[in-house]
Structures are given as C-alpha cells and as structure tokens.
C-alpha cells in the first residue's frame, strides 16, 4: 500500500490542503471534491494562551475529509496539541474559525460536539478505582439526558467498543491496574462508545512500548477501515505517521510547513526543515510504507 503520488503537483482526490510559504500570508484556497465531505476544518486559525504572549498556533488552515487519517506532525512546541484542542473545541481560536461540517464550532453545545468528536488524550489518570467498563460507559454521557441512566443498549455499545479494541476480557478489571497499552486501548474504546464520526488522538503511542505501539497502530488502521472512523492524530513519531496516516500536516513554530498526501509531504527536505535532522526517507519493502531513519543532526 503505497502513499506516494506521481508528482507533487497532483492532489490526490478527497483531500485538499493549502501549502503555505513561511513568509507569505496569502488567503487560503480551498477546493473540495463533491464526493468526499469535509467533516472538520480550520480557517486561518491562530491562538495564544496569554494574549500578550507567544502565539502558539499562527494562521493554520487545514481540512479533514471523511475516512481520512490526518497526521499532525511537528517537533515539541510546534503547536500540535494546541491545534488538536482547537479542532476539538476545547479552545477557541483568537483568530480564524473552526467549522464542524457546515456549522461553526461555537454553534454547537458541548454535548452535541461530543457526539461528533471524541478525543483520546495522551495519558489518562483515574483518581478513583473505576473498572474498565465504567471508563468506557462514560463515553455514553453525551447521548444521555441530564438525569438519565445508562440502559441496556448503552451497555451493549460499550461492550462492543471493548471488543473492537480487543479489551473485552478486561471489562471488570480496575483501570488503574492495567498496563499502558491496555489502558490506551480502553480509552480508545471509551472514545468509540461515544459513537462520534471523528476521533482526535494526542500522541497515542508516546508512552507505549514497541509491541503496544504496533497493537494500537493496527487497531486504529482497522477502525478506520472497518468502521469508517475519521481520525486526526498528533504525533512526533514519524514512522507512526508514515504507517498510519493518509495525509500529513507539518507544523513548525505554529505554522503549516507543508500539507498533503503522506507520500508527497514526508520527504527528506521536509524532515530537515522540521527537525533539523538529516534522514533517509524510503519505502520499506516489507513494511509496505515509508520509513524514516535519522542519520545526523544538521545544525
């Protein structure tokens, strides 16, 4: 399965991005394919935590089409996590707009938003002794009324989500006693139980060992394939991005360095520009996707 396109001038169908030059601030051009709807998009979005301080996200535009796995790539401090929070509606941009479907983000209530977007954070710490099933059931909250209790169908959805992530057997285990990989899969199940069409994941494999990394990566690919879950994954693991994501958005210092199909964007030049590292980017014959091998520091 190759993600490389013939030339950089051809945009693959279904994903339209604007590549920004760092110095120019041109208005964005966006074209859409009639067939693939854009579920989530950001237009010229900027954000600063402190109004007088550093701008963390600076004029970023991107669009997420249905069925995609979009990777947000960049070094520490590039604004990936903040961008993810802007996309999930947790933060409101100081400039620009985020839209979900046709509607602006602010038009939806938090519950409505939660029915359409689910977030998988990097780590989940539970202060109390909830079971894995209880954690997953919390994902049903946006679908219930103020004092409504979960019913049999909610339970079925939760169990189905656990099965989808291969954690059904852990249902009655205390969440805090699970291993890192198991916890992450339970949290993904909880996000699945939310029955949202978009899943936002913040560094999903950062704290996992190699084995669990492969587990989670193949799980996400499978969910995308079998359940048509659209995803935005923020990561600085280049190989994860290469193996999982259909499209990439490269962020540097809060701005988009490049965006497009993975094959087009994940190049040696871009890796050097993004990380200051000289790397070999090549299609690995047995893995079936691009791999990035760092060679030397360039500055």
């Amino acid at each position: 399965m190759t993600r490389r396109s013939a030339s950089q001038e051809t945009w693959p169908p279904g994903a339209f991005f604007l590549r920004r030059e760092r110095r120019q601030k041109e208005p964005t051009l966006r074209t859409r394919s009639a067939s693939t709807p854009i579920l989530l998009d950001a237009a010229e979005v900027s954000f600063a935590y402190d109004p007088r301080g550093r701008v963390v996200v600076d004029g970023v535009s991107l669009a997420v089409a249905r069925g995609e796995i979009v990777g947000l790539l960049g070094p520490n401090g590039s604004g990936k996590t903040t961008m993810l929070r802007l996309l999930s509606g947790t933060l409101t941009p100081t400039r620009g707009k985020v839209r979900i479907g046709e509607a602006p983000m602010g038009a939806l209530s938090r519950r409505e938003l939660a029915r359409r977007i689910a977030v998988v954070p990097q780590e989940t710490h539970s202060a109390f002794e909830f079971s894995a099933l209880e954690i997953v059931m919390m994902g049903r909250y946006p679908h219930l009324g103020a004092f409504e209790l979960e019913g049999a169908d909610d339970l079925a959805i939760a169990r189905d989500a656990l099965a989808a992530t291969g954690t059904r057997a852990l249902e009655s285990r205390q969440f805090t006693t699970l291993s890192g990989g198991e916890k992450q899969r339970v949290v993904i199940a909880s996000a699945l139980a939310q029955a949202a069409e978009i899943l936002l994941l913040d560094e999903p494999t950062a704290s996992l060992d190699l084995g669990f990394q492969l587990d989670v990566t193949s799980l996400l690919a499978r969910l995308n394939r079998e359940r048509a879950v659209t995803m935005v994954v923020s990561t600085h693991d280049l190989n994860l991005a290469a193996s999982l994501c259909t499209t990439l958005v490269l962020l540097k210092a809060g701005q988009v360095l490049a965006a497009g199909a993975t094959g087009d964007v994940l190049t040696r030049e871009h890796v050097r520009a993004l990380y200051g590292v000289d790397a070999d980017v090549a299609l690995h014959p047995r893995a079936g996707h691009l791999t990035v091998v760092p060679l030397a520091r360039t500055h």
């Binding site: 935590y49 947790t90 977030v119 954070p121 202060a127 109390f128 209880e134 954690i135 909250y141 936002l200």
Partner: protein, 332 residues
C-alpha cells in the same frame, strides 16, 4: 444501575434511621423510654423527656446533618481536585470559619442579638469569605491551567488563614485560647432546634445543586480535558460544585465547629463499600457520614466519664489510624 442506586439508598438509609432512633436512647444518664413519652408528666418536670428531647435528640440531628454535609463536601472536593487526599478544608473554607470564630472569642464579641448568637454567624461569615476567595480563584483560571493551580491556591489560602488564626489567638488570654481550642475540636451539643434549622436552608440549597452533578464528578475525576471532550462544561460545573461544597462546609462548621476527618475518610470508606461511581457514592456518603458522626458523638459523650470528650477527638482517634491504613494499602 438504577437498582444499585436504590439498594444503596435503602441500605444506608436504613442504617441512618436505625442510628438516629437508637442514639438518643443511649447516654451516661439512664432514662426510660416509657417515661420519655409519658404524657401524664408535665414536660417541665419530666427529666427523662428533657434529656431525650433537649439534650440528646438535637445533638443526634446535628450530628446527622454535620456528618452528612462534611462527607458530601469531601466527595465533591476529592473529585474536582482529582485528589483522594482532598477534604473540605483543602481550599481553606474550614480555616475561614475558624478565623471568624476565633476573632469573636478573642475579642469578646460573643454577644447575642435577638436570640442569635454571634459565634456561629461569625464562623459562617468567615467561611463565606474564604468561599469568595475560592470562587475568585476559580473564575481567574485562565484557559489551559489545570486544577493543580486551584489546589495550590487553596492550600496557600488555608495556610494563610491558619496563620491568621494563630496570630489572633496570641492576642487573647489563656481562657480565650482554651475556648478557641475547644471550639476547634467541635461540639454537637446544640441544645436547641433553631441552631439546626437555620443552617439547614443553605445546606439544602447546596445539596440540591450537588444533586445535579454526580455523573459530572465521575467524568471530571478523569481530568478536565477528558470531561470536556465528553460534553461537560467543566468551568461551570466546577464553580457550582466548589461553591456548593463550600456552602455545605460553612454551614456544617457553624453548627458544630470544624469536626476533623469526617470529610476525608467517609468518602473513602463509602467507596470501599459501593465502588467509585459518584451516583452511588454521593447518596451513600450523605447517609453514612451522618451515621458515622452520630456514632462518634455517641462514643464521645459516653466513653469518657461524665464530662465526655469533644467529638473531634474521637473522629481523629478513629480517623487517624484508619487513614494511615488506607494510605499503606494504596501505596504499598
């Protein structure tokens, strides 16, 4: 789920009722139930009836209210601060109440205006002051700051108020210091029903507000971003929760003083029995907290001679070792 909640309320409710019926019958003075309800004896002459209705029953009711209030406030604080060691005093509300009381005691402002004693009013005012600061802190939280900031701010406020307490006490004489210390150990001997009915109003309001939050407490205990992404308006919920829990605490302190340990350990005991789901934990904490304090007060007034012991000493005697055991169990 519905069954779980119903069974829990039934079980703990039965415990609370049983304790409330039996506790007034037990004490250092022997009374006969028959005499207590003997209508033929004039109330003014019926010592047994007076012991039951004037000395013991208000005390038991005060214990139920104060214990339940502290326990619920403890649950709410522990969930929102995501810290199992949090208590109603973590954000300084008890310290504020203590400051109000200590000021009245030390500067001899202890007067009664039209039957209303200054001391509980001052302690409630002190807790309201601390509550105001807590509220401002929660308003001032900028986007992206975690609850750790709120926790640290509360700890600082609590320490500051504690220092003010000590400063004021130094200005008093030996008797004042003794009285302050006795007040701080807590006493449920209210002797009248007015002292209970008046604080009941803010308490019921606070409990009603908290009753809208049980599921939110579950979600928030996983972290603010996690709760937000599942549809919770965390900032608003936090304000409602902290203000209500502080109101509960302030009212409870104005009745019986800052009885220690109930707010920390009862939530944990309840979670050990019913699990972590706050829709079950909250009603259980309310009922069990009341029962627990009634029992502690029973021990305090019967097991230590005719003069008894302050109820706060008993809750600490039980609470301290139990809490240590909990810690060892959890962090071994």
């Amino acid at each position: 789920m519905r069954r779980r909640i119903a069974v829990t309320i039934a079980g703990f409710g039965a415990l609370a009722i049983a304790v409330c019926i039996l506790a007034p019958l037990v004490g250092t003075t022997n009374i006969s139930l028959a005499r207590v309800f003997d209508r033929s004896i004039a109330f003014a002459d019926n010592v047994d009836a007076q012991v039951f209705f004037v000395a013991r029953l208000p005390r038991v009711l005060a214990a139920v209210l104060v214990g339940g209030a502290f326990a619920v406030a403890g649950v709410v604080f522990q969930a929102f601060l995501r810290n199992p060691l949090a208590s109603p005093d973590t954000l300084g509300v008890s310290s504020g109440a203590t400051l109000g009381a200590v000021i009245v005691i030390t500067f001899h402002l202890d007067v009664a205006v039209r039957g209303v004693s200054a001391l509980p009013v001052a302690s409630f005012a002190g807790s309201a002051g601390a509550l105001g600061v807590v509220y401002l802190m929660s308003l001032a939280r900028r986007r992206g700051t975690s609850s750790t900031v709120l926790l640290l701010g509360g700890v600082a406020l609590s320490a500051f108020l504690g220092a003010l307490n000590r400063l004021v006490q130094v200005l008093g004489d030996y008797t004042d210091v003794f009285r302050s210390m006795r007040w701080m150990m807590g006493s449920l001997d209210v002797g009248s029903y007015t002292d209970i009915i008046v604080p009941l109003v803010p308490m019921v309001a606070a409990l009603a507000a908290i009753a809208t939050l049980p599921r939110v407490l579950d979600l928030v205990s996983l972290g603010e971003p996690a709760a937000e992404s599942r549809g919770v308006d965390v900032k608003k919920a936090e304000r409602v929760a902290l203000v209500s829990a502080s109101l509960l605490t302030g009212s409870a302190v104005s009745i019986g003083g800052p009885v220690p340990f109930v707010g920390i350990i009862v939530p944990h005991i309840v979670r050990l029995i019913v699990g972590a789901d706050h829709r079950v934990v909250l009603p259980a904490a309310l009922l069990f907290g009341g029962s627990f304090l009634v029992l502690c007060d029973l021990v305090a007034r019967t097991a230590f001679g005719p003069a008894g012991m302050p109820v706060g000493a008993v809750t600490a005697l039980i609470g301290g070792p139990f809490f240590l055991w909990l810690l060892f169990r959890k962090f071994r």
